[in-house]
C-alpha cells in the first residue's frame, strides 16, 4: 500500500514542482529524491512497516512477490532517472510533468503487482497506459511522435475494450470480480469462461506486445522520444508481465493445462517473429524495440511453465532485462545517428561507453557471467521442469542464438569497424554510473542470488 499512495502523491508533488520552479536541476533532484523515498517506503512495506492501513476489501493483496517486483521496478526507474533524466529536458519544456506522469505510471505498476480484483487490474493497466500515451506524444513538433501516440492510443483503447469484455464475461459466469471467487470451483473451461479467458489473454498479449498483437510496438517505440522508449520498453513492459502472470495464475491457474498450449504457441510466435524481424533492422532503436518483443517471448515462458521457478525467474528477468536495456538506451541517447553505422568506431573514441554497452548486449544475448544468462536459465529450467513443452524450449534456444546476430552487430560496429568521428558529450558521472551498472550486471551474473537473498534475509531471518 505504501508504494501506491506515495507514488500517486509524488506525481502530484512533481506537477506542483513545475509551478513553483523553473530550474530543471531542482525538478530533477526532487524527482530523484522522491523516488528514492518511494523505494525505501516499499522496502519497508516488505519488512512489515505499513504506513497506511486502508481497508481494501480484498481488492488488493500484497505479497512478497509483488512487493519484490515493485522494488526492482522502482530501482530500475531510479537508475533510469539518474542516467537519462538530463535527456528528458531535451524533449520539451514540461520537464516536471514528464516526471509526474512517470510517477503515475509507477502508481499503476504498484497496483498491477498487487491486484486481487479484476477491477483493480483494469484500473492499474489504465493508470499505466494513459500517461504513456501522453509521453509517447510529448515531442509535440515531431510528426512521428504524434503518429506513434495516436496509434498507441487507438490500439491501446481497443485492447482495453477487449479486456473489459473479458472481465465482463468472467463476471457473468462467477458473479464477482474477485480473483479468489473466480478461481474457486472452476477446473474445466465452460464456453463462457473460455471466451473470457481468450479475451483476457488477447488483451494482455497486446499490453506485453506478444505476437500477433505486437504491431503497435515498433512504431510506438520508434516514434516516441528515445528517452521515454527506454522507460516503456523496460519497466512498463515487465510490469505488464507481472500483471499477466498474476491474472492467469490467480484466475485460471487450476486449468493451466487447458490453455498452456495456446500460451506456448503465442510464446513461440513471439520469439520467432521478434528475433527474425530484429535481424533486418537498420536502426538500433528499432532493433531494440524488436528485441523487446523477442525478450517478451522469453518472459512468456513464465506464463507457459507457471511454477515457482518461473515466477522467481520472471523477477530476475525483469531486473536483468531492465538494467541492460536502460543502459543501452542511455548510450543510444547520446548518439545522434541511430543506425548501426552510427556506432562504428565507438570503442576508439569512447572506450567506457563501448565496454559497458558490450556488457549490456552480452547480458541481453544471455552469455554466462552476466545477469541475462540467469534470466534465460531460469526461464528454460522452468519450462523444462514443466516437461510438456520441450519443443518450445528448443525454439527458445534457437531464437536466443538468432538474437546473438543482431546484438553482436552493435558490438562489431563498436569494436571492429572504423567510423566517422561523432561528437558525443558525456559527463564523468554518467560514465561512472554506467560502470556501476555494468559491474552490477556482471555481479548478478556470477552471484545471481545474492541480491534476493540479501532482501530476504534482511527481513525474514
Amino acid at each position: 500500500m505504501n508504494a501506491i499512495v506515495i507514488s500517486a502523491v509524488l506525481g502530484v508533488v512533481m506537477m506542483f514542482c513545475g509551478v513553483f520552479t523553473n530550474s530543471k536541476p531542482a525538478v530533477r533532484t526532487v524527482a530523484v529524491i522522491g523516488l528514492l523515498g518511494l523505494i525505501i517506503a516499499n522496502v519497508l512495506d516488505m519488512g512489515g512497516y505499513h504506513f497506511f492501513n486502508v481497508n481494501v476489501r480484498g481488492m488488493l493483496a500484497f505479497d512478497v512477490f509483488g512487493l519484490l517486483f515493485n522494488t526492482i521496478a522502482f530501482a530500475a526507474t531510479w537508475i533510469y532517472f539518474l542516467l537519462s533524466g538530463r535527456d528528458m529536458e531535451r524533449v520539451g519544456v514540461n520537464l516536471a510533468e514528464y516526471f509526474a506522469l512517470i510517477f503515475f505510471v509507477l502508481c499503476g505498476i504498484a497496483i498491477v503487482s498487487a491486484f486481487n480484483s479484476l477491477l483493480m487490474l483494469f484500473l492499474g493497466i489504465e493508470i499505466i497506459s494513459i500517461p504513456l500515451y501522453i509521453l509517447t506524444g510529448s515531442d509535440k513538433r515531431n510528426l512521428k511522435s504524434n503518429e506513434a501516440a495516436l496509434k498507441y492510443f487507438l490500439m491501446g483503447s481497443f485492447s482495453t475494450g477487449i479486456m473489459l469484455m473479458g472481465i465482463t464475461l468472467l463476471y457473468g459466469v462467477k458473479g464477482s470480480f474477485n480473483m479468489d471467487v473466480i478461481r474457486a470451483g472452476s477446473s474445466t473451461l465452460t464456453p463462457m469462461l473460455a471466451a473470457g479467458l481468450l479475451l483476457l489473454l488477447f488483451a494482455m498479449s497486446f499490453k506485453v506486445s506478444a505476437v500477433p498483437f505486437h504491431f503497435w510496438t515498433p512504431d510506438a517505440y520508434d516514434g516516441s522520444p528515445t528517452v521515454f522508449t527506454s522507460f516503456m520498453a523496460t519497466i512498463v513492459k515487465v510490469a505488464g508481465f507481472i500483471a499477466f502472470i498474476r491474472l492467469f495464475e490467480g484466475c485460471f491457474g487450476e486449468m493451466h493445462k487447458q490453455w498452456q498450449l495456446l500460451a506456448a504457441i503465442i510464446t513461440a510466435a513471439t520469439l520467432f517473429i521478434g528475433n527474425i524481424t530484429a535481424v533486418f533492422q537498420q536502426s538500433v532503436k528499432r532493433m531494440l524495440s524488436y528485441s523487446s518483443i523477442a525478450q517478451a517471448g522469453f518472459m512468456l515462458f513464465a506464463l507457459v511453465a507457471m511454477n515457482n521457478t518461473a515466477k522467481e525467474g520472471l523477477i530476475f528477468y525483469a531486473a536483468a532485462y531492465s538494467l541492460a536495456t536502460i543502459g543501452i538506451f542511455a548510450v543510444l541517447l547520446k548518439m545522434k545517428d541511430y543506425t548501426f553505422e552510427g556506432f562504428n568506431g565507438l570503442a576508439k573514441r569512447q572506450p567506457v561507453l563501448a565496454a559497458t554497452n558490450t556488457i549490456f548486449l552480452l547480458s541481453l544475448a544471455g552469455i554466462p557471467a552476466t545477469a541475462g544468462f540467469w534470466a534465460k536459465f531460469y526461464m528454460l529450467s522452468a519450462a523444462i521442469d514443466n516437461g510438456n513443452v520441450m519443443w518450445l524450449v528448443i525454439v527458445g534456444v534457437l531464437c536466443a542464438a538468432i538474437s546473438v546476430y543482431y546484438y553482436f552487430r552493435v558490438i562489431q560496429a563498436m569494436y571492429f569497424k572504423d567510423g566517422e568521428p561523432q561528437e558525443i558529450e558525456t559527463s564523468r558521472s554518467f560514465k561512472g554510473l554506467l560502470i556501476v551498472i555494468a559491474a552490477a550486471v556482471v555481479l548478478l551474473g556470477i552471484f545471481p542470488h545474492w541480491l534476493i537473498n540479501q532482501l530476504y534475509s534482511f527481513f525474514y531471518l
Binding site: 552469455i367 557471467a369 536459465f377 524450449v393 534456444v397 534457437l398 569494436y415 571492429f416 569497424k417
Partner: protein, 488 residues
C-alpha cells in the same frame, strides 16, 4: 588449492594486463604469469598429488545446489599440463609478432586461458558450462580484432555455431539436473542419474551437437578452416591446440559417463560422422595450397579419429584419446609455429610460392619434418602411441557391429594424411627456390628454443609413454566403469 590457482592466476594477470600499456612489459608480464601457471600445473601433477590439494569445493549457488567445485583427475591433469605448457610456448614463439593494442591482446589471451583451464577442472555441470562459454568470448574478440581480412564474418559464424551448440547442451544439462536424485549440478550426482533409454537417446544428441561443433566433427566443421585461417596465429594455436580438446574432453567427462545408454545406442551414427569427416577432410587437405588451411583440415581428420575411438567404445581406445589429446595439442602447435615462421618471413602461406627452403633454412626444415612426421603418427613420435591405442580400441571394440569398417576407413585416412603431409614437406622444403625464398634465413634463437623443447618432448613421449599411460589409467577406469554399470 591447485585448481583454484590455475584459474585465479590467469584471471588476475589477464585483468591486470589490460592496464599495462607498454608492449614490451605486457609481453614479459604475460610470459611470466603463464610460466607461473605452468609451474603450478606441474606442481599439481608431479609433487602435490594428495587429493586435498587437487580438490576445491566452495558453495556458489546454494538455491540451485551448484558448487564452485574443481577437481583434477588424470584427464584434467594432462590437459592442464598441455594448457600450462602451450601458453608460454606460444608467447615465446610469437614473441616477434606485433599487435596493435598489445595489452588488450595479451589480456584476452590470458582470460581465454582462464576459461580453458576452468573447463578442464570444473566438476560441477553449471560451472563447466560457465567456463565453456567464457573461453569463447575472448576468442571471439581476439579473432575479430586481430584476424585477417574476412575476420569479422568468419569469427561471427564460429561464435554462432558454438553458441547454438552450447545452448542445446544447456537444455541437456538442465534436464539431467532436474532428474538427479539430489537435485544437484555436481558431477557425482550427474554420474548417479539413471535415465530411461529413449530419454538418454535424445539427450545424447543435445550434448553431442555441442561437442561435435567444438571438436569439430563433419558436418559441423565448416567454421573451423576459415577461423583457423583468419585468426592471428597465436590464437589459432590456442584454438586448435587446446580449445578443440574441450569438445573431446566434454564427451569423455559429461557425455559418456552420464548418458552411456544413449552413447551405446547412437554410437554408430556418431562414429560414421567421424569417419566420413576423416576421409573428407583428408581429401580436402590434399587440395589445399594454403599452409594454414592444410593444417586446419588435417586437424579435422585427426580430431575425427579421436571422436571415432570414443563412439566405438573401448577402454584402450578411450585411453588412447586422452593421450592423443595431449600429443595432438603439442604437435599441432608445433605445426602452427612453423607455419607462422614461414608466413612472417616470406609474407605468404601458399605452397606454390615456396620451395627449396631446406638449403636455406636447415634448422626450420628439420623442425618441420619432425613435427610433421609426428603429425602422421610415425613410430617413435608421440602421436604414434595414441593413434595405435585408438585403432587398437576400434579394432577390439565390442560396442559396435561395424567397427571393422570404421577401422579400415580410418586407416585409409591415416595413409592420406601421410600423403598430404609429405607432399607439403616436399613442396615447401625441396625443389627449386622461388624468388621469395632465395634470400631466406634460418630461424631465431627463441623460435629454435620452443621448437627444440617441443621436439624433445615429442620424441621422449614417443619412446617412453609410460607416465602418461599410468596417469590416465585411473581416469579411464572411472569413466569406463560408469559406462558399464548403467547398461540395462
Amino acid at each position: 588449492m591447485i585448481p583454484v590457482l590455475l584459474i585465479v592466476i590467469p584471471l588476475v594477470s589477464g585483468l591486470l594486463a589490460f592496464l599495462i600499456k607498454q608492449e614490451k612489459s605486457v609481453k614479459v608480464w604475460s610470459l611470466v604469469t603463464s610460466l607461473i601457471t605452468m609451474v603450478v600445473a606441474i606442481l599439481g601433477i608431479a609433487v602435490l598429488h594428495k587429493p586435498e590439494y587437487l580438490q576445491t569445493n566452495v558453495a556458489w549457488l546454494p538455491n540451485l545446489n551448484s558448487n564452485f567445485s574443481l577437481t583434477m583427475d588424470g584427464m584434467s591433469k594432462l590437459l592442464c599440463l598441455l594448457t600450462g605448457i602451450a601458453y608460454p610456448g606460444i608467447f615465446i614463439a610469437t614473441w616477434n609478432s606485433t599487435y596493435k593494442n598489445p595489452h588488450q591482446f595479451y589480456a584476452l589471451m590470458l582470460l581465454m586461458q582462464t576459461g580453458l583451464l576452468g573447463v578442464f577442472v570444473a566438476s560441477d555441470a553449471l560451472l563447466f558450462y560457465f567456463f565453456w562459454e567464457l573461453a569463447l568470448i575472448p576468442a571471439y574478440f581476439l579473432c575479430s580484432i586481430w584476424g585477417g581480412e574476412r575476420r569479422v564474418a568468419v569469427t561471427f559464424k564460429f561464435f554462432i555455431y558454438t553458441f547454438v551448440g552450447s545452448l542445446l547442451m544447456l537444455i541437456g544439462i538442465i534436464w539431467v539436473y532436474l532428474h538427479t536424485p539430489d537435485h544437484s549440478f555436481a558431477m557425482t550426482s550427474f554420474y548417479k542419474v539413471n535415465l530411461p533409454g529413449n530419454t538418454q537417446g535424445w539427450l545424447f544428441w543435445l550434448f553431442f551437437l555441442a561437442f561435435a561443433i567444438k571438436i569439430p566433427l563433419w558436418p559441423f566443421h565448416t567454421w573451423q578452416p576459415d577461423t583457423y585461417e583468419q585468426s592471428p596465429t597465436a590464437v589459432t594455436m590456442v584454438l586448435s591446440g587446446i580449445m578443440v580438446k574441450m569438445g573431446v574432453f566434454g564427451v569423455l567427462r559429461w557425455l559418456a559417463p552420464v548418458l552411456p545408454v544413449g552413447l551405446w545406442g547412437y554410437g554408430d551414427p556418431a562414429a560414421t560422422m567421424c569417419v566420413i569427416g576423416m576421409i573428407y577432410a583428408s581429401f580436402v587437405a590434399m587440395q589445399q595450397d594454403d599452409l594454414k588451411r592444410l593444417v586446419a583440415y588435417s586437424s579435422i581428420a585427426h580430431m575425427g579419429l579421436m571422436g571415432l575411438a570414443i563412439f566405438v567404445t573401448s577402454s584402450i581406445g578411450i585411453q588412447g584419446v586422452m593421450i592423443q589429446m595431449f600429443n595432438h595439442g603439442i604437435n599441432i602447435i608445433g605445426m602452427w609455429i612453423v607455419v607462422e615462421l614461414i608466413e612472417r618471413q616470406f609474407g605468404t602461406r601458399k605452397m606454390s610460392e615456396l620451395g627449396g627452403l631446406a638449403q636455406k633454412a636447415p634448422g626450420l626444415a628439420i623442425m618441420l619434418v619432425v613435427v610433421a612426421l609426428a603429425n602422421v603418427a610415425l613410430p617413435l613420435t608421440n602421436a604414434f602411441i595414441g593413434e595405435f591405442m585408438m585403432f587398437n580400441g576400434v579394432f577390439s571394440s565390442k560396442a559396435s557391429n561395424y567397427h571393422y569398417i570404421f577401422m579400415v576407413v580410418g586407416g585409409i585416412s591415416i595413409i592420406l594424411s601421410a600423403i598430404y603431409t609429405l607432399n607439403m614437406i616436399q613442396k615447401v622444403f625441396y625443389g627449386n627456390t622461388s624468388s621469395l625464398t632465395a634470400n631466406a634465413r634460418d630461424i631465431r634463437v627463441n623460435e629454435k628454443f620452443v621448437l627444440a623443447v617441443l621436439l624433445i618432448g615429442i620424441v621422449i613421449m614417443g619412446v617412453y609413454p609410460k607416465p602418461m599411460i599410468e596417469a590416465t589409467k585411473h581416469a579411464v577406469d572411472a569413466i569406463y566403469s560408469k559406462m558399464f554399470i548403467k547398461l540395462p
